[in-house]
Symmetry: C2
Amino acid sequence: MQDISKPLRSKSYSVPCELCSIGSICIPMALNNTLESVLNRKRSFAKNEILVTEGDEFQRFYIIHSGALKTYVIINGTEQINGFYLPGDIIGLDSITTHKYNNTIKALTTTLACELKYDELMALVTKSTQVRDTIFNLMSQNILNYQKMILAYSQKNAEEKLAAFICWLYTQYAKRGHTSLSIKLSMCRADIANYLGLTIETVSRILTRTQELGILSVRGKYICIKDLSALFQLAAEKI
Amino acid sequence: MQDISKPLRSKSYSVPCELCSIGSICIPMALNNTLESVLNRKRSFAKNEILVTEGDEFQRFYIIHSGALKTYVIINGTEQINGFYLPGDIIGLDSITTHKYNNTIKALTTTLACELKYDELMALVTKSTQVRDTIFNLMSQNILNYQKMILAYSQKNAEEKLAAFICWLYTQYAKRGHTSLSIKLSMCRADIANYLGLTIETVSRILTRTQELGILSVRGKYICIKDLSALFQLAAEKI
DNA sequence: CGTCGTATTGACCTTTCTCAAGTGGGGTGG
DNA sequence: CCACCCCACTTGAGAAAGGTCAATACGACG
């Protein structure tokens, strides 16, 4: 286990609290003293460290400050990746209904995450309509995202899926104010392939092809978007 | 437009209020007089009638009492189906965050749906922790369902997708107490194919093949499940 | 500077799509 | 009441996308 109060690594990208997915409720000045009891701020996890295991009792959400996580389940002995989570994202909303975690959560890189206790958050929801609206908004957004993702993954071919995936990465960072066209992938090809329902070879081939089209520049885990609008067009999404 | 207070058709399958997705908050005895102002009970829609169009201002959820709906968006001029909704399902949770409907909602058959006003529901959430927990539970369940669906549709081949789809239909009805192995599809092959990201021809071929395996018996829109456990196994899900 | 794990590339095979023709059932008009 | 028609569905043959297996290249790390 890691040191609880390990400081933020200046090298890695992180969200300022104002841009975090929980937004306004994360700002101490908005909620004064109530906040401290709800959030155990900034716990650090090492690369490949498992935060929770599928089936564990649900107690707290995780909100990523810096780094990246993946969630997965084991089906027939093989890992099936459910999602990737980046700075500002919240994990655990699906667990409210089951009272336990439905996925294993693992750190892809060194990650700093805020812990948010469920019980205490619920108490705040009743007390403050601002918190209530924030949480409803968050859950609704989550549902909308999943709808879009299902559309994407049922309708798109391999090339479009991969383009959509990179667009998603770009958008996730952009939403938090980080608009660089250079992206460092925190996951390996196998994880991407697994998540998109493709094979490693197909992912590799398509990255090469997209590079030859002048849309991307790929070098290992580093991707540079050369033509953003072409990438979005390939993903069949409106920019 | 239809007669608002058209009575429930006895022929079609419907959920009793106790099994509706909004569950306890739909039972008048639990919420007494507050309920009537929130729910405009049982409005009827004709087959192919459009309830709301993508982009319309969001005001109310729809909870299906009987019949079936589909939601879709138009991408590049073609319809892309987002989901099918059956008795007990609630539509509109994704709209909380956008304040407008993200999909067009259309009736697949004659459908009876309860309308639930958003503003009034939110007021109830603050007043009653029971309502609050019900709604959080509902949204969480929704997120969990989408997670599972994404897994399903990114990892499965055509045969598994279709089996999973029929399992889902069966399960949806079973959850509401309707455990018959005979299912009448309310959607056409084209809709199923669209939704699953397949072609009509593939859907047709797989239905035929699955029938030859003795798992299903297909006759137009009528499907009879001959071997439920084999079907779930084909869908790669635990029963 | 070698080693191990990850990524790329190539040849071949399976699945699904595409295009095209044929079938069948429900509704309408004679 | 029957025949016809239309639309939804089924079936078949060839094409394309993606998967599989195998060899090779790269790169981080000791």
